[in-house]
């Protein structure tokens, strides 16, 4: 039988260290909704999403109450819309009408975000892909809960630099389209390299074409639990440090596995994967930066940060993999700036720069995330930042991403408030030297030599 101290340990993790299940995300394939008529397509996807996800929020809440574990978000991801709507949408306006339908479906089902307003263009863009990408600024300003992502490269295909250039422009245009809300639209837009098909986390979630009809993916979290565990072994060597992270990640993931299996059983939808991620929130004590500082860094951003993050990322995976039957998604540690109080503090005191964050993305689970930059940074520079991240992902066989917010009308030294889980961010300086000629070349960067594995 379970021992009382174990019961108290679990409840302390939940109540004091903010252990939670970050998201239950239902992936829904929209491929069967394909139609040549845009009106029919919109009706079909609305019915399919609201039908399959009808009980998603209710079931999530029931599990929450029965096990006493908070499930912060219930979300939906769908087939990349550029694929599903390839024959239905004839113009960027048609795509915007789909975004509105998705937003309506999100409101009806009660989920707080719906991802999959996406295009996968790692080697080239179809006409539909290009129209969807061009519609992103309007789609994100006209909707509340729709999230968009575009995959511009992969280790197998190289990087589509035409798409990178276009995304630089679209990030800027999205910022302008949502200027009155501090360019919030960009917080719902991610540019990927090596995007996973089963990521449950927003804004980059979509239901990949390799997936089945519907699936339940769960993202766990718990930076506060890891930090508290490390506080108990202060000054110990790396062996003890790594073992402690691993053991803690195991415990956190087991909770995710339980929630995922229960959700899958109750909803009658197969269980896909657990995403083993340490996802911070702006709440005090729920910080990945806090873990790195607990390891012995004076501030995140100091020399040693990349090594500390690398070991954290690796040990989280090692502990989590054994705790779950299927692991996938982004799995690792997230390092968003605005969603992590420790990161915000480090930026404000000058300890953390975009260049250091870029180095950290070589060893963390995703990429440059929730970083506010001045609104006057040119589109070509944003494209350059995207290209750099995509190159890191392509060469290192990992997922990388850029979710960057050029805040229109604001400059260095100012702050931007996104609210809720998205937090707030100080505006960070960007290297002022340009790369417009490089970005303007057009075409694609070939696949790296190590992609030829056959």
């Amino acid at each position: 039988m379970i021992e009382f101290n174990e019961i108290l340990e679990t409840n302390k993790m939940i109540e004091e260290e903010k252990l939670d299940v970050r998201t239950i995300t239902m992936g829904i394939s929209l491929l069967e909704c394909a139609d040549t008529d845009i009106g029919k397509f919109n009706a079909k996807i609305y019915d399919r999403i609201t039908g399959l996800a009808e009980n998603l929020v209710k079931t999530g809440e029931e599990i929450e109450n029965e096990y006493g574990i908070p499930i912060v978000n219930k979300r939906i991801s769908v087939t990349p819309i550029a694929l599903a709507a390839g024959s239905a949408a004839k113009s960027p306006e048609d795509f915007v009408s789909i975004a509105r339908t998705l937003d309506r479906a999100a409101h009806t089902t009660g989920v707080n975000f719906l991802g999959g307003y996406s295009a996968l263009v790692s080697k080239g863009m179809t006409k539909a892909d290009r129209m969807l990408i061009e519609s992103i600024p309007e789609a994100l300003s006209a909707t509340e809960r729709v999230c968009s992502s575009v995959n511009v490269g992969s280790t197998r295909t190289g990087i589509d630099m035409d798409a990178v250039k276009l995304m630089g422009e679209m990030v800027k245009a999205t910022a302008e389209a949502t200027a009155e809300n501090d360019s919030l639209g960009c917080a719902k837009l991610v540019v990927f390299c090596n995007a996973p098909d089963d990521n449950p986390f927003m804004a980059g979630a979509f239901h990949g074409v390799t997936e089945g009809d519907a699936i339940i993916n769960v993202g766990v979290s718990g930076p506060g639990v890891v930090k508290t565990a490390l506080a108990g072994i202060h000054g110990e060597n790396f062996e003890v440090l790594c073992e402690t992270v691993k053991r803690t990640a195991f415990k956190i993931t087991r909770v995710g596995q339980l929630v995922a299996q229960e959700a899958s059983r109750r909803l009658g939808v197969p269980f896909g994967i657990i995403d083993l991620s340490l996802a911070p929130t702006p709440a005090v004590g729920d910080s990945v930066a806090g873990i790195l500082e607990e390891m012995g860094l004076e501030s995140v951003g100091a020399p040693g940060t990349t090594a500390a993050l690398a070991l954290l990322n690796d040990q989280v995976k090692k502990g989590g993999v054994m705790a779950s039957s299927y692991v996938g998604g982004l799995s690792g540690a997230f390092i968003p700036v605005s969603e992590d109080q420790g990161m915000i503090d480090a930026v404000e005191k000058g300890a953390l720069t975009i260049e250091k964050l870029e180095a950290m993305t070589c060893v963390c689970s995703v990429g440059l995330d929730m970083i506010a930059i001045p609104g006057d940074v040119p589109a070509s520079t944003i494209a350059g930042i995207i290209a750099d991240e995509a190159a890191i992902g392509m060469v290192n066989n990992k997922t990388t991403a850029v979710r960057i917010i050029p805040v229109i009308g604001k400059g260095i030294g100012e702050k931007v408030e996104f609210g809720g889980l998205l937090g707030y961010a100080p505006i960070m300086p960007v290297n002022r030297y340009g790369c417009s000629e490089f970005i303007a070349r057009g075409g694609r960067i070939p696949a790296p030599i190590h992609s030829f594995k056959n």
């Binding site: 009382f4 174990e6 108290l8 679990t10 109450n65 029965e66 006493g68 574990i69 415990k251 087991r254």
Partner: protein, 90 residues
Amino acid sequence: MQRTIITVTGKDTVGIIASVCTYLADNQVNILNISQTIVDGFFNMVMVVDVSASPKSHGELAGGLSEIGEKIGVKILCQKEEIFTKMHRV
């Protein structure tokens, strides 16, 4: 057997155990194990109970216990056992 864990925490006062146990008995919930301590006036109790004979659902029991907790000024949680066994047992 359907095991559920009830944890009660808060400022010590007269009749905490009595109120909780009366409610459980009234709802055919069988107590399997109890551990209770008081440190510096702070009451801490963990109960392992079997709810399989109870006519009430988990949600109803949890709601009822939570109401009692509010009346006597303590926090009462009611959680299915699996969250603990999954986390601490391989």
